[in-house]
């Protein structure tokens, strides 16, 4: 299958449980990540590979495989009697995501704007019958970065670049990235210039839409100019076509409805 053929193939939800006969294999490709699973009477085997240079391969391919590919590191999980189905679950990374806008974005005083920012998910391979987590595999190995006013104060995050898309219709359909609607409110009295933005993804839950796209809780970040930290609010309004019933994973860290987060870098670096 060529790249363009793969692109035209509609996405399918990949988070439903899959039953597997004993002594059979299965392969699942989600974006750049390909997983191989094999079930035997007393064990499950799991291997994976990534094609990081083909991040634009927005595909979901799943089919029974002949056998486990050789040359990959295979993990074995031993059971008394191996459960007969597996399930893949999307979760967000354990550190905040720092997105760099490709061009600086300015929001005037009193203005507010909603951007759609996507974050590559990690895939949790679970056996739902026994509720066993076999492994958690990030779809992409994101680059580390530091977010804070100095090299002493701040926190380690993951870095990615964003187009800071405004319109939901512009977002490409990608199976391996969860989209966060971020509303930025500027009440500082000055122009707010955003070159980098930290999204507290460990606080967000993931939802799966029937069309195979992933979404997170929408958030709003309010900058009032007095505090170094921004006020984070969970707006609670899920994008159209989604309901809380489609929640696939809970946040890694639970927080209240409001909290203060370090979100805007340009404020500190002036």
């Amino acid at each position: 299958m060529t790249k363009s053929e793969i692109r035209q193939k509609p996405l399918a939800p990949w988070w439903h449980p899959v039953s597997l006969e004993a002594e059979s294999c299965y392969s699942y490709a989600i974006g750049p990540l390909t997983l191989y699973l094999k079930r035997q009477e007393h064990e499950w085997q799991l291997a994976f590979e990534r094609q990081e240079e083909n991040e634009d391969l927005f595909r979901v391919l799943n089919h029974a495989a002949v056998c486990m590919p050789s040359g990959l590191k295979t993990h074995r999980y031993i059971f008394q009697h191996s459960p007969d189905s597996f399930q893949l679950k999307p979760v967000l990374p354990e550190r905040p995501l720092v997105v760099r806008t490709r061009q600086p974005v300015n929001i005037p005083d009193g203005g507010q704007s909603t951007f759609y920012i996507s974050c590559p998910v990690s895939v949790q391979v679970t056996l739902p019958a026994t509720n066993t987590l076999l492994q958690e595999i990030p779809v992409l190995r994101l680059s580390d970065t530091w977010f804070g006013p100095s090299t002493q104060v701040g926190e380690l995050c993951y870095a990615t670049k964003t187009q800071a898309r405004h319109d939901r219709a512009d977002i490409p359909l990608r199976p391996h990235r969860a989209v966060t609607p971020v509303t930025i409110i500027n009440r500082s009295g000055n122009m707010l210039t955003i070159e980098k933005l930290s999204i507290p993804v460990p606080l967000l839950a993931v939802y799966g839409a029937p069309d195979g796209t992933l979404w997170t809780d929408p958030i709003s970040l309010e900058h009032d100019g007095e505090h170094a930290l921004a006020r984070l609010t969970f707006t609670g309004k899920l994008p159209a076509g989604l309901s809380t019933a489609e929640r696939l994973s809970s946040p890694r860290i639970s927080s209240g409805k409001h909290s203060l987060v370090r979100a805007f870098a340009s404020i500190f670096n002036q």
Binding site: V98, R100, R141, L142, S143, D144, T145, W146, F147, T151, Q152, L156, A159, K196, A265
Partner: protein, 290 residues
Amino acid sequence: MAENILQLLQTDHAMQFIKAAILFLFGLLAASLVSRTAYRLISQNFSLHHAVLFRRLIYWVILALFIASALRELGFSLSVLLGAAGVLSVALGFASQTSVSNLISGLFLIGEKPFQLGDTIKAGNTTGEVLSIDLLSVKLRTPDNLFVRIPNESLIKSEVTNLTRFPIRRFDLNLGVAYKENISKVRAILFELADKNPLSLDEPSPVFVFSGFGESSLDIQFSVWTKRENLRDMRNKLLEDIKLTFDREGIEIPYPCRSLFTGSGTAPLPVQVVTSQATAPDKNSPPPAQ
């Protein structure tokens, strides 16, 4: 026999002994109880190290008070004893100068807290993880699993580097490329490699410094930030990538080279071209078989 003992007990001396013994035993009990309670209270709010130190201090102060009372009960004059102890401590002080200096340094180290248990420090030529900070010395475990004891005095006097104080570190790579190379191409390659390496931090971004015209190369310093635990992995990967990419792009990392001149007044160095036919047989080669 029993009468004798009874008589003995009734004397003042025996009563004094018994009182002194009771005082001493009570002192032991009280010191142990109070110090343990204090330890529990202190360990909630202070570090483990401070709690241990306070426990020992309280134990010995209380015990010393009770021993002093017991001695007084026995008829010793405390002022004489303290005077004698003063003279003795001066003598001891001269004799154990090093220990006392280490002890005082230890107290300063504990107060100043330049490092804590579990930190990795570099003192002199020794790098290692701090196992314990005691009154006389600091114990380290080196990466090759050796136990090193460093006297507190030398730690106070000399420079100590704490490698694990901050969560991120910078790796400075010094390298040289040949004079013929295009320096902006080299810069672009280095930044691209750092960007591709997931262990190198995006922010603070890598720093490229063209540090000068060296003897045989253009000297460059390229500094990359990383999470402190990843420093070695990042360095290995980055150096490997640089070597492979430079080889592929044909960028030369030169050896030190020397140009020989014989001075302007002299003739050029004579050069003789030796062709393969004219090569004389090697003296060291074995003689042909007869």
